[in-house]
Amino acid sequence: MLNKLKMEWFGNVKGDILSGIVVALALIPEAIAFSIIAGVDPMVGLYASFCIAVVMAFVGGRPAMISAATGAMALLMVTLVKDHGIQYLFATTILTGVIQLIFGIFKIARFMKFIPRSVMVGFVNALAILIFMAQVPHFVGISTMTYVFVALTLVIIYGLPRITKAVPSALVAIIVMTIAAIVGGFNLGTVGDLGEITRSLPMFSIPNVPLNMETLSIIFPTALGLSIVGLTESLLTATIVDDMTDTPSNKNKESRGQGIANIVVGFFGGMAGCAMIGQTVINVKSGGRGRLSTFVAGVFLMFLILVLGNWVVKIPMAALAGVMIMVSIGTFDWSSLRTLTKVPLTDTVVMLVTVITVVATHDLSKGVIAGVILSAIFFAAKISKLEVSSKESEHRTVYNVKGQLFFASVQDFVNSFAFKGKQDFILIDFSEAHIWDDSAVAAIDKVVLKLKEQTSAEVKLTGLNDVSDKLVQKLATYNKPNAKPSNH
């Protein structure tokens, strides 16, 4: 146990420190941009990224995963912040943590497997679209110089890696464009126009909100949405790290960890966060494998803000928008466009419905829920295809039932029988079928009784597998005296 902990922390010191620094540098522009999306001071996102990264280093279930302030979460907070203010955001953040902690304790993480891949694809695509859309007001229709700055930022971001990969190109782009803006004296909007950077460590404080039912009714819906979105992105990211490093992770511990981190963040003036796919991939690719990498990322980020805070406010919004355009391009799952026509139509529909729901509501949790429900319906429709074939001879009819008999397929089942004509003996063969629920048994009752009544034959069931047989024994009424076909 102690050995494992030592490995997780100090098994890869050099790689972890280097990758942690790279991640910290890449986190700064994102933390600021996500704060601006949420409509709060940049410090709220920066404090959140610092606190979450450091806390997750200790309590996370997936070493080397980077958690911080994220776009997915920021998008959900916009309305709450606008209508009720920052103190309510802190309270919501704490409640989000509590919900996630409960999810983790009750091992809800295992239900994540009910989120189909097509919903996950929809999730990342919708996230990418929303991040991009959030940048539009910062560069469209402001001035020609703004367009030039965005374009130059993108040129540096995508061009520099062809020359050197030693420094993160997004950071170089930010630095170069900030210097260009200051030296050139261009009249461009800066981070400083949208909020303040305070060069101090986060302080403990209790959110200043009345503790009553009214507050709860304001913050609970947002907190629940944040919990779902946070866990969705975190557990998806954890799976990606599992695959990248070929090591397992504890998803329930991760959920508990996210909860603890968000509770702490709420008390230290930060916004709720979760794991970040992009930053995590950067961390692992840069050599990060252990908890130390996450810890270094958080601490170094805070150090940079304390030292460079005065410069951060001078970053032109156009450069930041350029970086965020890159983030959204990196988030989008481009291969889903290529496979659009190759995957089953239902998968494509689920993916598109998820995206459309999110873009329409600006709420990723609603998209996930819509996607999951739709895939459940498609799945039920797919497996509810039931076939009943019949063989008729002079004295007996044999029905062969093939498929899954449950609430969605009972209608087809009942309609497959001929309830007329005289017959001596009717056999219903279930050897290629499975009976799942009481609707199925009720349907069998109905069929048997109706067959008896209409054809005055003797009706027998055969070939039921063990589970199906037990269910029929327990619930069926057709062989009880005075049984009548029910009307439903």
Binding site: R117, T239, I240, D243, M244, V281, K285, D333, S336, T339
Partner: protein, 135 residues
């Protein structure tokens, strides 16, 4: 001659063809051994997680290549590495003193190839031993 052969595969049709030629070369030299290296590209893991069928396809192709070796009775060893495919294969090849490196001419993604140049080209340039690129 070619006793220690490195075969680099990525699960594409081209790499299956390369495997066939590796078997041909290895069967000419008694006691020859083929090491198969398959590099999991860290930048593509996200795509593989979101599209499980891609991972399945890659694993299936690897199984096919393995059974090709077993059928022809050529001794082999499979190494799965993680990282950036080009540099990872180059450093593996140069570290272990191979007599020959065999690789398919083209990989899975033609678009990326156009922009970044092909992995096989990079390998041919940087590996110290002879490199055989299979068309």
């Amino acid at each position: 001659m070619y006793r220690k052969i490195l075969l680099a595969v990525d699960g594409s049709e081209h790499s299956k063809r390369a495997a066939k030629h590796a078997i041909n070369v290895a069967s000419l030299v008694p006691g020859a051994k083929v090491e198969i290296i398959s590099v999991i590209d860290l930048s593509k893991v996200k795509t593989e997680v979101l599209h499980g069928e891609l991972k399945q396809k890659r694993q299936q192709a690897l199984e096919e290549i393995k059974s090709m070796f077993e059928k022809e009775n050529v001794s082999y060893e499979l190494k799965i590495e993680r990282g950036n495919p080009g540099p990872t294969i180059v450093s593996f090849a140069n570290k272990h003193d191979f007599d020959l490196v065999i690789i398919g001419s083209r990989g899975l993604n033609s678009l990326q190839e156009m922009v970044l140049g092909s992995v096989s080209h990079k390998i041919a340039k940087r590996v110290h031993c002879p490199v055989m690129i299979i068309k």
